[in-house]
C-alpha cells in the first residue's frame, strides 16, 4: 500500500534520512524505533505530508505521489502527533469534528451545527475503539488514555487506511498504556495499517508485526517481531550491533 524508495532528507548540513526504504501492507502494524535524532519523526512527517523528501520516491497503491498535509488526508493517511493537538476547553465530540463539523439546515436554509449527529458518530467511534470516553466530556477532565482515544477517534473520522502514531504511550499511566495498545490492535483488526513510533520496546513487541530500526538517518533493521528480540533491537539502536 505505502512504499518509500530510497527516501532522503537533509536539514542544512544534517543528513536526517539517507536512502530509507519502507513498505507497509494493509492491516500491518510497523514499529519504528531509534534513538533521539535517528530520523523517526522526520520519516513520519514525510509520510504525513509535512515535509517533502529531498530525494527518493513515495508510492501509494503503486502510484508515485507527492504528499502534502491535505493530499495525505485525501489518500487516507492520518497522523496523531505526540502532543495530540486537542483543544482542552472543548468536548470530545467537538475535538473529533474540529474543522469537519456536520451541519443541518434549520428551516431548510440556515446552517446550524448538528450536535446530535456529531455526538452519535463520535460515540460510535469511541465504541469501535473500545474506549470509555463519553462524547460530551471536556478534554480537560480526561485521563491520558481518553485523550489518546479522542485524538485517535478524530483521525478515524474519515476512515483512514494508514494511521501514523507518534509516541502514543509517552506520558500516560501503565493502565492507560494497555488501553492504547488495545486501541492499536482494534485498528489492525479493522484493516487499518499503523506506523508506530515508540521509545518503549515493550509496546512495539506487544502490538507490532514488524520492527524497523533507524540509526543516524539510516535503516539498520527491518524484520518480523517474531524473529527479533528486545535485546537485538536495543543493540541495533545503540549501534552495538551494526545491522540485522
Amino acid at each position: 500500500m505505502l512504499e518509500l524508495r530510497s527516501v532522503g532528507m537533509r536539514f542544512g548540513a544534517v543528513e536526517a534520512l539517507q536512502g530509507v526504504d519502507l513498505e507497509l501492507a494493509p492491516g500491518e502494524v510497523v514499529g519504528l524505533m531509534g534513538d533521539n535524532g535517528a530520523g523517526k519523526s522526520t520519516l513520519l512527517k514525510i509520510v504525513a505530508g509535512n515535509f517533502a523528501p529531498a530525494s527518493g520516491e513515495i508510492r501509494w497503491d503503486g502510484q508515485p505521489v507527492e504528499l502534502r498535509p491535505l493530499s495525505a488526508r485525501e489518500h487516507g493517511i492520518e497522523a496523531v502527533y505526540q502532543d495530540l493537538a486537542l483543544c482542552d476547553n472543548l468536548s470530545a465530540t467537538a475535538n473529533v469534528f474540529l474543522g469537519r463539523e456536520v451541519h443541518r439546515r434549520l428551516f431548510g436554509i440556515l446552517p446550524v451545527l448538528d450536535h446530535a449527529a456529531m455526538r452519535k458518530r463520535s460515540a460510535e467511534l469511541f465504541g469501535e475503539l473500545g474506549s470509555d470516553t463519553r462524547p460530551d466530556d471536556l478534554v480537560r477532565r480526561m485521563s491520558g488514555g481518553q485523550r489518546q482515544a479522542t485524538a485517535l477517534a478524530r483521525a478515524r473520522l474519515s476512515a483512514p487506511r494508514l494511521m501514523l502514531l507518534d509516541e502514543p504511550t509517552a506520558a500516560i499511566s501503565v493502565r492507560q498504556i494497555a488501553e492504547v495498545l488495545e486501541l492499536i490492535r482494534s485498528l489492525r483488526d479493522q484493516g487499518v495499517s499503523v506506523l508506530l513510533i515508540s521509545h518503549r520496546m515493550s509496546d512495539v513487541f506487544a502490538v507490532a508485526d514488524r520492527v524497523v530500526v533507524l540509526r543516524r538517518g539510516r535503516k539498520v533493521a527491518d524484520k518480523a517481531v517474531a524473529e527479533s528480540s528486545p535485546e537485538e533491537v536495543t543493540a541495533l539502536i545503540t549501534g552495538a550491533l551494526e545491522a540485522a
Partner: protein, 314 residues
C-alpha cells in the same frame, strides 16, 4: 461545594445581580422605582451590546481595548453626516463604515501580522480617539439635521415601557447565544482560544476567525454609539471614553476567560448588568461618584480571583 464551583459563571453573576437588587430595594426607596429600573436597564444595554462582541474577542484569547474610542469616532462621524443634512441611514452607514475599518485594521494586524492584540488595540484606542478629535475639531455636535427626531426616537425612545436599546440588547443576546451554540464560526472561536496550533492543524482558517471577531466587536461598538447619541441628543469626541474598562469587565465578570477558550452571551449581559447595578447602588447610597472607578476596577479583580478559585476547585 465542588458542583457549585462548577456552575457556569453567568449563573453566579445572575444570582449576585438578583441578591444585590433585593438588598437595594429594601434599603433604598427610589431603587425599585420604575424610572430607576428603566435607567439601569438602558444604561447597561449600551455596554452589554458591546460586551457581546468583546466576549467573542476574548474567547479567541485576544482583547479589544479600542471599543470606547471606536464609539467616539462613530458618534462624531454619524453626528456630522446627519448634521450635513443626510438621512439617518446614510449617516449610520458612514459611522458603521468607520467601525468596520477600525475592526479590519485591528483584526488584520492581529490575525495576519501576528501582532499582540493588546498593543494593536491600544494603538487603535489612541488613533480612533484622535481621529474623533480631528474630525470634530473638538466641537460638540447637537444639530442632527432633518432626521434628528428619528435618531432621538431610536436611541432615546421606548417600546412597551422598555427602552429601545434594551430591546436591541435582548435580541442581540438571543442571537449571540444561538450563535455560540450553533455556529461553526463560534465553535472555531472557542477552539482558537483553547489551542491555536491544534486548531490550525485541524484545518481551521485561524486568521479569518480572528479577523471576524475584531470586526464584530468594532461594529457592535458602532451600533451602540449611534443609539447612544440618539439618547444623549448630542455628541462630543469624548463619547465612550474609558468605556473599554466597563466593557471588558462585563465580559470577564460574565465568564469570558482572558486566556481564551471560554465565554458566552448571557454572561456578558449579566456582567454588564452587575456593573451598572453596582454603579447605580453606589449613587443611591450617596457614595461619592469619584469612587466608581475603584469599585469597577475592584470588581474585575474579584471576578478574576473567583475564576482562579473555580479553576483550582475542579
Amino acid at each position: 461545594m465542588r458542583s457549585l464551583l462548577r456552575a457556569p459563571q453567568s449563573l453566579w453573576v445572575t444570582l449576585t445581580v438578583a441578591a444585590l437588587a433585593g438588598v437595594m430595594s429594601l434599603v433604598s426607596e427610589p431603587f425599585a422605582s420604575a424610572d430607576n429600573i428603566f435607567n439601569i436597564s438602558r444604561n447597561f444595554a449600551f455596554i452589554g451590546l458591546i460586551a457581546l462582541g468583546q466576549t467573542a474577542v476574548i474567547a479567541t484569547g485576544g482583547i479589544d481595548l479600542s471599543v470606547g474610542s471606536v464609539m467616539g469616532l462613530v458618534g462624531i462621524v454619524t453626528g456630522l453626516v446627519l448634521g450635513s443634512g443626510q438621512p439617518l441611514i446614510v449617516a449610520a452607514a458612514a459611522g458603521l463604515g468607520c467601525a468596520l475599518l477600525c475592526g479590519l485594521v485591528n483584526g488584520s494586524l492581529v490575525a495576519y501580522f501576528r501582532l499582540s492584540p493588546f498593543v494593536v488595540t491600544l494603538g487603535m484606542l489612541s488613533i480612533a480617539r484622535s481621529l474623533a478629535l480631528v474630525i470634530s475639531n473638538n466641537r460638540m455636535i447637537h444639530d442632527f439635521g432633518p432626521d434628528e427626531d428619528l435618531l432621538l426616537a431610536l436611541g432615546g425612545g421606548r417600546f412597551l415601557g422598555v427602552a429601545n436599546p434594551v430591546w436591541l440588547l435582548v435580541v442581540a443576546a438571543l442571537c449571540a447565544a444561538a450563535w455560540f451554540r450553533y455556529s461553526r464560526l463560534a465553535r472555531h472561536v472557542l477552539a482558537v482560544g483553547g489551542n491555536e496550533d491544534s486548531t490550525r492543524l485541524a484545518g481551521v482558517p485561524v486568521a479569518r476567525v480572528k479577523l471576524t471577531v475584531y470586526v464584530l466587536s468594532s461594529l457592535l461598538a458602532g451600533v451602540s454609539a449611534i443609539l447612544m447619541i440618539g439618547w444623549l441628543g448630542a455628541v462630543t469626541n469624548a463619547l465612550g471614553q474609558n468605556y473599554e474598562l466597563r466593557i471588558i469587565a462585563s465580559a470577564v465578570i460574565g465568564g469570558a476567560n482572558l486566556m481564551g477558550g471560554e465565554g458566552g452571551a448571557f454572561g456578558a449581559v449579566a456582567g454588564a448588568a452587575l456593573i451598572e447595578l453596582i454603579r447605580n447602588s453606589l449613587l443611591l447610597l450617596g457614595v461619592d461618584p469619584y469612587w466608581q472607578g475603584a469599585f469597577i476596577g475592584g470588581s474585575i479583580i474579584v471576578a478574576m480571583l473567583v475564576e482562579r478559585m473555580r479553576r483550582a476547585g475542579r
